[in-house]
Amino acid sequence: MSLKLRAMRRWLPKRMDTLTLPSARDEAWRWSDMATLEAAREIKRVAGHVGSTARIGDGPRLVFIDGYYDPDFSEPGDLTLERVEFTSTHPLGQFAAGQGYELRFPPASFTAPIEIEHVVVGEESHLPLRFVLDDDAVVSVVETYSGGGWSNRLSEFSLGKGARLMRAVRLLQDEGFVSIRDEASIGEAASYVATFLGAGGMGSRIDGFLRLDGVGAFAEMGGALLTRGEQKQEAAVAVHHAAIEGTSRQVWRAVAADASTASLAARAEVARHAQKTDGEQSLRGLLLKRTATINLKPELEIFADDVKCAHGATVGELDAKALFYMQSRGIPEPQAKALLTHAFVADALDRIGEESVRDAFKADADAWLEAAL
């Protein structure tokens, strides 16, 4: 891939004049925290770059400040960012529609893990991104959200035959709101795996629709939402099996402290002809305080008759017997709680294949636990 990066000027941050936001009366948005989203738009802009997170590896780095690519902070290597137009009818995705960027990965290419940083310095920012993986391309992406304000993202993924995309996304904004709308089309024998970690102080909505279009496709979307204070985070995702022999996994964990709310809604849809589908959903919540709330909604919509779809949803508290057992061995209560909670969250973060990325995400989760317990 040749280096081709147009020098880009900084655009003025985009601002919506009027917002028509989804209402809690709509079933798909009943747990959404649109009040925090609106308040995030009013967060005052701070001058200059608010700093970026530590690098995980030495692959390409793409930094987006307020939704615009910033070549000064980026190290794109061989990557080419093309500007393209986006459209969307999604209630939040539509605000991000318009001019955005596309990244293309040629057939059978292999790219070192790409680190994408979304830095927001206040108010609102919107960005549409498209990833196009040609046949057999292998791509790994780590995305980090930092700063404060409303970050609204629309991401599209197109995976050709045998392509593999591994994504790890962490929401670490100090305040504000992150809304993510992901749409993926997964081709024959292709694999799409996305793991999210919500461990910042912001509100969030992770919204996804993964379509298994090719025979034998694999789709996974999951992660961990950690909430405290009065924070509300939410994941609302759906996988749609449109071809035979597809496999999907939705493994989500929620940990809620104080008076916070974490909500997980995961749906698996199996079309009439999508026989031999293998679907699995595991939604589990851990309440650190009885004043916290966890909402879980596993949904299956199956029209084919030869499928295997398992689902489980449970909410509980830390095991008092395990806590005492650990304390009786000398571990103080806060550390015992942290170990048990870490183990609970690890289930979801262990899905991240790249060890350095997994370790970085676990460290973020541990930092959250230390502050919350």
């Binding site: 057992y325 650990m326 304390q327 009786s328 061995r329 571990i331 103080p332 289930d347």
Partner: protein, 247 residues
Amino acid sequence: MLQITNLHAEVDGKPILKGLTLTVNAGEVHAIMGPNGAGKSTLGYVLGGRPGYEVTGGTVTFAGQDLLDLPPHERAAAGLFLGFQYPVEIPGVSNVQFLRESLNSQRRARDEAPLSGAEFLKLARAQAGALEMDAEMLKRPVNVGFSGGEKKRNEMVQMGILNPKFAVLDETDSGLDIDALRIVGDGINRIMRAPDKAVLLITHYQRLLDYVKPDFVHVLADGRITRTGGPELAHELEAQGYAQVAA
């Protein structure tokens, strides 16, 4: 070493221990035997500080400190070890991680330097080997998928690593076959038979006492110690039953 005086305790408002008095000196092994529901396990949990086991009267002094005043992890750091009748499974936390955190927490509480990963692994492998436990089991989540006997053996490995001054072992013999019983018995003797240590064995049966010879045997019935004797008392209990002897 341990002085229990007129101890009263209740669970869910129901009195279980009703004036229990017992003194254990350094270098001694005491066995507590008694029928189901007598309060044997409650005694263990009260000494360990389990929430929900409320002390309503009496005192417990351990190595010169008021034991009941300490939270559970400080009791452990002071040298108390509670061997559980039903060791708890902890999915997602490996034995190595759990035990290293336990030992180093205790060491920090005693102002001792924590062990490095390598130092700890060497110690853990030696203790697992002495109890004929496969070192691979150290990597597995705590007690998850372990058989009843493996869990009890794991308790002894933990005791070997933590090296306490005083161990309360609650039915450590239950769920063990003959060979495992010998291994566990040998482990208790090796780790705890020392002039500056002591053991309180809670058991239903005489068979563990063939391997770990007690200095004193007590009968616990209805929340109190009703008889005290030497090892021969265990044989008498085995032959005649609790109803006869404890009355």
